[in-house]
């Protein structure tokens, strides 16, 4: 899987971006040149040497707030995806094995979760449960869980009924070996795709919630909260919302790109795609195509 991924430039773009973003999330507050909460007398200033991205309506340094705010925004996205992974995958896998009543119940619950207007529910849940970050992450995670439920259930259904798994067990393969060789790759790829998608959606939802002041209250710095305060001063600083917006868009784009790359390289379709790319590359270089090259693509 990894050796296939490595050959695609879009995989490298996505992972470099995501590693940078993750570093930003972990080290953000430490990198901030000023105190993100300390105001000054210089209000709504344009970018300068002391304040690289200018100051906001209370004279706080925008760059510092952006860096300090990335923690909640980015780690929040990963947390949400991780919660959705646990809440969705476990019932998804169990629905195949635990009998029809459980299957019917979980299917209907997931149908309902898909049909609910997502953001309204997230807002209602978070605010009613006490308006904290933990509540926000939990409610968004639960609302995103159908993404994982569906893919894990589909994967478990195909694997559990496939003859090659049965054949592998019959011919003496140990459970660990069967899991690694046959079931792992089949289940991991769709769950990886769903995780990248869920993290992208989660980032947008967390940003939306913080924009509304739900989950994290001002003055704590968040990307969404910065947008909310910039909105009031658009007449003075029309460019100010651009910084958080660009960061949000880049991160979401990186997650989407990663999901696309994973989808393109997994399974038979990925094998064909990479074979095509190898052929095209060989043709461009004007080399005679060697038979090993076409055969070597795993």
């Amino acid at each position: 899987m990894y050796s296939r991924l490595r050959r695609l430039p879009s995989f490298w773009i996505a992972s470099v971006l995501l590693v940078l973003v993750l570093l930003l999330g972990i080290l953000g507050s430490a990198l901030a040149p000023h105190d993100p909460l300390a105001g000054g007398s210089a209000l709504l200033q344009a970018p300068s040497a002391t304040h690289l991205l200018g100051t906001d309506y209370l004279g706080r340094d925008v760059l510092s707030r952006l860096l300090a705010g990335s923690r909640v925004s980015i780690l929040g996205a990963f947390e949400v995806a991780a919660i959705a992974l646990v809440v969705g995958t476990i019932p998804g896998l169990l629905s195949v094995y635990l009998g029809r009543v459980f299957e019917w119940l979980t299917l209907r619950i997931m149908d309902t979760l898909i049909a609910l207007p997502f953001l309204v529910f997230a807002v209602a849940l978070t605010a009613l449960l006490g308006n904290g970050l933990t509540q926000a992450m939990l409610s968004v995670g639960i609302l995103l869980s159908p993404m994982f439920y569906r893919v894990s259930r589909a994967a478990a259904l195909t694997v559990s009924s496939s003859q090659y798994v049965e054949a592998a067990v019959l011919s003496g393969g140990s459970t660990g070996w069967v899991l690694r060789r046959h079931i792992g790759p089949k289940v991991l790829a769709p769950i990886g795709i769903a995780f990248a998608n869920a993290a992208g959606v989660g980032l947008v939802i967390v940003a939306s919630l913080t924009f509304l002041g739900i989950g994290v209250q001002p003055p704590a710095p968040t990307w969404g909260g910065m947008l909310a305060s910039d909105l009031g001063y658009l007449a003075y600083q029309p460019y100010a919302p651009a910084y958080p917006i660009v960061l949000i868009m880049l991160t979401v784009w990186a997650f989407n790109l990663l999901a696309d790359v994973l989808r393109d390289t997994s399974g038979e379709a990925g094998r064909i795609l990479l074979k095509k790319r190898a052929l095209a590359k060989a043709r461009r270089r004007g080399r005679r195509l060697q038979p090993q090259l076409a055969g070597r693509v795993e």
């Binding site: 149908d111 849940l125 605010a127 009613l128 910039d230 658009l234 029309p238």
Partner: protein, 345 residues
């Protein structure tokens, strides 16, 4: 390999062996099934959705005394108000009272000021629905135009430009688009108002000018989704042998596109339209905040922050009903366009 019609014919034969099977009677049976089957899917969704909604309200442990009196609530007052709102009864009794009132169209009264929640939501839902409906129209029209053009001109630079543009649109959350639109059209160009709402009865243009920016902000995601799905569907339909056959027969490109390709390749895009209403309604919360609209999304978040449980439940129930009703309509349309979709419902 039996076709859909054969299976359908087989089914009716088993069900009514003596009745004459004309084309007309089969047709009505098929339409009836197409309408009934989605109901079988959506009734459980409605029941579960309302149950989860009610459970949510109870789990929060909030009570009207806390909302109305705050820290000054005495145990006496708490008990009195709980009794007044029927909160001292067992959970299932409460649920049944609430649910039967719901079926009669009553959503209870607000814990804050005692005003009927149906009235409160009724005033606000018009605003949200005008924005959502306009966004839906923009999403379908622009999305279909972009997807159709990209599919007709596939593998040209136009196709690549549209694909790039739609993937850019899909990574922009509605509230960022809203802020950008306000910055451009309201603050810099000063051509459209940045906030507020004027009802349709006061003129078409004033209404339209207040609704168009939030609608555009809300529609981005849908435009991107519809364009992408439609392009993929149409491209795969163009690759089918019957299109080649139609071309060889000398049918005009226009007829091939509308009759053969669009009808067969449009299913996924239409299904996406059905799934996008929850997003449009959910996005209302943030776009209404950006554009200062007193819609139901803002009502939901402010009621939730104030702990007004019946109001939040009311909003959620109304949105569930809207989503379920819209999905039913889309499902029926899908069945009419694409008979094969019926088997998978």
């Amino acid at each position: 390999m039996a076709t859909a019609t054969e299976i359908e014919v087989g089914r009716t034969r088993v069900a009514r062996p003596t009745e004459a099977r004309t084309a007309g009677s089969l047709r009505w049976k098929r339409i009836g099934l197409a309408i009934l089957r989605p109901f079988a899917v959506f009734v459980p969704v409605f029941l579960f959705g309302t149950f989860i909604t009610f459970l949510l309200g109870t789990l929060t442990g909030l009570n009207p005394a806390y909302v109305q009196l705050g820290e000054a609530a005495t145990p006496d007052a708490v008990a009195r108000l709980n009794h007044q709102y029927g909160l001292d009864q067992p959970f299932l009794v409460q649920y049944w009272t609430w649910f039967s009132a719901l079926l009669h169209g009553s959503l209870g009264s607000s814990w804050i000021d005692g005003i009927s929640i149906s009235t409160l939501i009724g005033q606000r839902i018009v605003i949200s629905l005008s924005v959502a409906a306009l966004a839906l129209v923009i999403g379908i029209v622009v999305g279909a135009a972009l997807g159709g053009v990209a599919a007709i001109l596939q593998t040209t630079w136009v196709d690549r430009a549209i694909t790039g543009f739609t993937s850019l649109m899909s990574v922009m959350p509605p509230f960022t688009v809203g802020i950008i639109l306000v910055a451009i059209f309201a603050v810099q160009l000063k051509v459209l108002p940045s906030a507020g709402y004027i009802s349709l009865s006061q003129g078409l243009w004033p209404w339209f000018s207040h609704v168009i920016l939030p609608a555009i902000a809300l529609s981005f995601d849908m435009v991107a989704g519809v364009a992408r799905q439609l392009r993929a569907g149409l491209v795969s339909a163009y690759g089918q042998n019957y299109v080649l056959g139609a071309t060889v027969h000398g049918l005009s490109p226009r007829r091939i596109f509308f009759v053969h390709v669009l009808r067969n390749g449009g299913g996924p895009a239409l299904a996406l339209v059905g799934l996008s209403l929850p997003n449009l309604l959910g996005g209302a919360v943030v776009t209404e905040t950006v554009f200062g609209l007193a819609g139901y999304g803002v009502f939901a978040s402010s009621s939730a922050l104030h702990g007004d449980v019946p109001a939040v439940q009311g909003v959620l129930v109304v949105s569930i009903v809207l989503v379920v009703a819209f999905n039913l309509i889309v499902n029926i349309a899908l069945n009419r366009i694409e008979p094969s979709a019926k088997r998978g419902v």
